[in-house]
Amino acid sequence: MRLNTCLAALIALMPATAFSDEIWVSNEKSDTVSVINVDTLEVVKEYEVGERPRGILFSNDFKYLYICASDSDSVQVLDVEAGKIIHDLPSGEDPEQFALHPNGKLLYIANEDDAVTTVVDTETHHVIAQINVGVEPEGMAVSPDGKTTITTSETTNMAHWIDTETNSIYANTLVDARPRHAEFTDDGSKLWVSSEIGGTVAVFNTSDQSQIAKIEFEITGVHPDKIQPVGVELNADNSLAYVALGPSNHVAVVDTATYEVLDYVLVGRRVWHMAFSPDGTKLFTTNGVSGDVSVVDLATNKAIKSIKVGRFPWGAVARPTN
């Protein structure tokens, strides 16, 4: 018993970079970020951050964590080594989600209250552009070649295709009600967009913005209205997509070749977003209502543990340490 406590204390004291991969989780209603050790499946650290943290992501070298502190109207930069916030980036009002350009320099931020997408230079800390988009922008993605940024707007029900050279919209694609998340395939040929109220995920051909597929979901014993897709993550070889289905408390596993749903995995309540362990064997899901993170074993598609984090966990992102 005492040994366990000592061990836990020891782990907590060790620099996080030393051994294990980590999952970082933003807690929307406790204004904190929790760090989960992927090997022990325990919370090893919690950082106090700005108000209502939602979207989080790492710099390409994993030295910095960017945090959308929505109610602080800023994007905060946390130095992972130092374990503290080193500065705020100007972000526009109410930043909810963002995406980092492959060049590691430009952040594209959805300003939910303002109907704009803000482009910020992470080196000079300057706003480079603001692009008018639809009402309540949220989902953000940058294509792997860095040429296109996507913003989805929740009330306008569109994916806006933004040319990163001119910072202007070159196409608008209508999707089902309340789009929440956008995700490019690694080869950049396809774009996945989830629609929370529509209950669907649309897949687009990025070369001409045409819709290739629309995926619908059906879970025995769960009312269709409660199946509300939010987060979408593609596995390492892009053969499978995982779709977080909100208050249905399930994650769907989708075959990306046939767009068929292969499985539904029961997780915690109101599942928002997900992150893979860096070795690709586990999926960590943030469950807003139950206030925990489910760990899904991807070999069996079963949740093997739930980890208590802060209030309303929202975003999740992996940090490999090896």
Partner: protein, 391 residues
């Protein structure tokens, strides 16, 4: 140039086909008329909650702004004309309607005035944003009049689901003197029967003294007459006296209806399901909190916008059909909103709220329905007295 063309390429969700529209030199206008006939304001005891002068209209204005953001990308715009008339001025409303070509009309007036205006103007689509009257969704329904404000029955069904779930089975009711109070009380009685409950004891509200000074004494006496009960319903649609009942009843019992736990289509305390964004957009625009009539106006125009986009700008008949049979509208209440194709009522969750928080969102878990759980609230198809949607 290709960029410009591309910008108007969008995939039509219906049937997965892509449609291309040209660059909008001449923007497509979608005309809306907001028609208001003032309703007599009933004097109430408290001055705390004046009825906003732009009630309803502020919601419509927000919807126009929201829709025109989308319109900016798709080459159309909503244009709204507002006509604001004095009490009972039906004649002026008729001529305003004749003078307007707007196909979509929001009606902010009494139920009788609505039916008078809709009759003989069947080529338009009207939205009731002001009246809870069950008759408008029943025997007085009109095929071209849709209702985005919930009915009395939807609100009282939500309350009854709640007390049934709580097993608060012994119900008492105090009813005010306004005609709206009688309609709400009637809906409460019907709802109690629908869910296998009954209102055991009732009292009319007859006191006309200044309750701000003597509620403690008067309410004690009145509620003593009710004997023992689990919960007290109050039918007081103008919130005249209901606010003075809490903590002044003889028995320590919860109050529901006019004050205490209220059932509405929208309330300032809604913040889940993204509602915080809608609330703050509304406050920025109008400088006050959004109320249910504002929401009804907002959601009516959002529904028209959604129908325009999903039907690739169909004519009014196509819009009506889509609203009645295809729409899944996001409305910040956690479930897709749609319309009942047998009486034109918008299906929607009903919030059960107290002054500072949402308590529950009806339909409550466990109240099932063969078609859609939202149809456990309000008149269902088999019992509907509405025949205008029949064919």
């Amino acid at each position: 140039m290709t960029r410009l063309l591309k910008s108007f390429v969008f995939a039509l969700a219906v049937g997965l086909l892509a449609a291309t529209t040209g660059v909008a030199d001449d923007k497509r206008n979608i005309d809306v008329l907001y028609l208001r006939i003032a309703t007599p304001e009933r004097p109430v005891l408290s001055n705390l909650d004046p009825i906003p002068e732009d009630l309803g209209l502020a919601g419509a204005n927000l919807a126009i702004a929201d829709n025109n953001t989308t319109g900016g990308f798709m080459g159309y715009q909503f244009v709204m004309e507002t006509v604001d008339l004095g009490e009972g001025d039906l004649e002026a409303a008729q001529s305003a309607l004749q003078g307007s070509a707007a196909p979509y009309v929001l009606l902010d007036m009494s139920a009788d005035e609505m039916t008078s205006l809709v009759d003989g103007n069947e080529a338009r689509l009207f939205f009731n944003i002001r009246s809870y009257d069950d008759k408008l969704r029943g025997e007085d329904c009109r095929a071209t009049l849709l209702h985005t404000l919930p009915s009395y029955a939807m609100r009282t069904d939500a309350l009854m689901q709640f007390v049934l779930k709580k097993r608060w089975n012994n119900l008492a009711l105090v009813t005010g003197a306004a005609s709206e109070d009688a309609m709400f009380a009637d809906a409460l009685r019907k709802s109690s029967r629908k869910f296998g409950l009954s209102i055991a004891v009732e009292e009319p509200w007859v006191l006309d003294g200044d309750l701000r000074r003597q509620a403690g004494a008067e309410v004690h006496l009145l509620t003593q007459k009710l004997g023992d009960y689990d919960v007290l319903f109050v039918a007081d649609e103008h919130n005249d006296f209901a606010r003075y009942l809490a903590y002044n009843t003889w028995e320590p019992r919860p109050i529901l209806g006019g004050d205490g736990l209220r059932a509405t289509g929208w309330n300032r305390v809604n913040e889940q399901w993204g509602a915080a964004q809608l609330q703050s957009r509304f406050r920025d625009l109008s400088g006050r909190d959004m109320q249910d009539v504002d929401y009804a106006a907002w959601v009516a125009l959002r529904a028209v916008d959604e129908a325009q986009l999903r039907t690739n700008f169909a004519e009014i008949d196509g819009i009506r059909s889509f609203l009645l049979d295809g729409i899944e509208l996001a409305g910040f209440k956690g479930r897709p909103l749609s319309f009942r194709n047998w009486n034109g009522q918008m299906r929607q969750p009903i919030g059960l709220t107290h002054a500072s928080a949402l308590v529950a969102m009806a339909p409550l878990e466990g109240f099932l329905h063969a078609r859609n759980e939202l149809d456990s609230l309000g008149a269902d198809e088999p019992e509907s007295q509405c025949t205008a949607f029949g064919e």
